[in-house]
Symmetry: C2
Subunit: 302 residues, 2 copies
């Protein structure tokens, strides 16, 4: 794709310039028909300074309201726990016909926070399109962004009833031009799927690192020396941003704790099988993991 | 290193030609002063046929006794649950002054199985040196081996009291020439460290894949589609060989279940913190994971 494509948005504001926000800006900066003009907003002046140095936006500011007033699309890329309050601030000043979207990793609680604000505003024809690009690395901040981050990754849209088809379509095209494959689903279904494929694995990775850290000093220092590939993979997951993950855990509490309970039951049953040397059960469970892996590879996601 | 090095062993027998066994053979085949002559033993005739085709040994056979009679070192590379019975078979026919070693991922139970056999044999001066090269991939079988598999990885030795210094030294030099960093520790300490850095992570990875597999069909198919990096890393771990892991779990039951209990307590506390929205606790636990990761990178293990 080239810069000659008709752009999806004239002026795009990205609020929160972390890994995802700065990746969107980098991608849009390269063209791909995403936006003619890019405004970057971050509440942290140091981040703004860095974004300015990186030259990935036309204007950088701490004032979300001023940016929102100038934009036909505002994309909120702050941790999920703060999306609601950001929306509350900017929705009343957004322009007629403009689009609000977010990139939060949980959807039910974000929509619950935004829906009442949306119902209160009087400006006609403002659409809110919730989105979740399933991409990331263990790094965070404006320097961590990559223009190719979304290439061949999924972006899930969980649109609200009565949202204009045109608005949903613009967000779909936007993410496709970012390189993502777009799928629609309900917010509830989204949160359950993400609980098992992403949130629970992160919870377990943080926990096992904590468990290792609780060990007596002698063993702990050797854990670091001898971390085999098993533990190394867990620490890669566990290196992610604490505030982002705290927010995700709280925002998706219901689905996460449901999956957690299922996992704990399975884990207890597996431990009991090891205790009782129930070899058939142990092999069956291991076999299932292999099959899931095999299907993952067949799905070309591995 | 070149083929001109004085070799550590004249005739080396490798019993069990899976990932580790075939990697040792490949390495020795390239020289590195490991052994002049290589005998490969596998109870599976199909594996023998494949090893023959791969040309990674001078002779391939299903008969462990005949190979052991000709060797100054026998390295047992079968799953840990079978090391004891292999040792029982070959120790009585091994030559004066020869060395028995193994590559099992657990050490206490393997030593417990071998020690009484060792005490019964009458051939003078046979040494047993337990070893554990901490290397692997998620692949198995003779085709999975890599001559460079042990490069810059740890190999842990857990020698028994009264073992000759010369025998331990030969095994140490052998693994160093395989590219590994060698460390000594007690079998008990080894098993605790490996329980937390490797065995528990594998147990959890198998379990979470099983949990996903137990979900209703609709969610499960999407789990495969949307596996984010979190879940993908878990399935990579979970793709390992079922029989090998069944044996490791059973052989290291005591240390593994101790670490499992610690982990489950931590996990329950974390879930309770999420339930009660105890943000300080959640952030502290996540932070610890990051610190462990940071130290891992500093230790150049990441």
């Amino acid at each position: 794709m080239t810069k000659e494509l008709p752009v999806v948005f004239d002026t795009l504001t990205v609020i929160g310039v972390g890994l995802i926000g700065s990746s969107v800006l980098r991608r849009a900066r390269l063209g791909y028909g995403l936006a003619r003009r890019l405004l970057a907003v971050d509440s942290n002046p140091d981040v703004c300074q860095r974004v300015h140095e990186l030259q990935i936006a036309d204007e950088v500011m701490t004032d979300a309201i001023s940016a929102a007033q100038q934009s036909d699309c505002v994309m909120v890329c702050v941790p999920v726990g703060r999306i609601g309050s950001v929306a509350e601030k900017i929705l009343p000043v957004m322009r007629t016909g403009s689009i609000l979207t977010d990139v939060g990793s949980t959807k039910v609680s974000v929509i619950e926070a935004i829906r009442p604000v949306l119902e209160r505003i009087v400006t006609p024809n403002i659409a809110y399109v919730p989105a979740h690009p399933m991409a990331g690395t263990e790094f965070s901040g404006p320097d961590a962004g990559l223009a190719m981050l979304f290439e061949n990754r999924w972006c899930l849209l969980t649109p609200l009833e009565h949202t204009s088809f045109e608005a949903i379509e613009m967000i779909r095209v936007f993410w496709q031009r970012c390189g993502a494959h777009v799928r629609h689903m309900t917010p509830e279904h989204h949160d359950r799927v993400c609980a098992i494929v992403s949130h629970l694995p992160h919870l377990l990775a943080f926990t096992i690192c904590g468990t290792a850290d609780d060990l007596a000093e002698e063993t702990r220092s050797e854990v670091l020396d001898f971390a085999a590939s098993g533990f190394r993979d867990f620490t890669r997951i566990a290196a992610s941003d604490p505030i982002m993950w705290r927010d995700i855990f709280l925002a998706n509490k219901k689905a996460l704790l449901e999956m957690f309970d299922r996992f704990m039951d399975s884990a207890e049953t597996m431990a009991k099988a090891i205790e009782e040397e129930n070899t058939a059960y142990i092999v069956d469970r291991i076999q299932r993991g292999r099959e899931i892996r095999k299907r993952l590879i067949e799905n070309q996601q591995a």
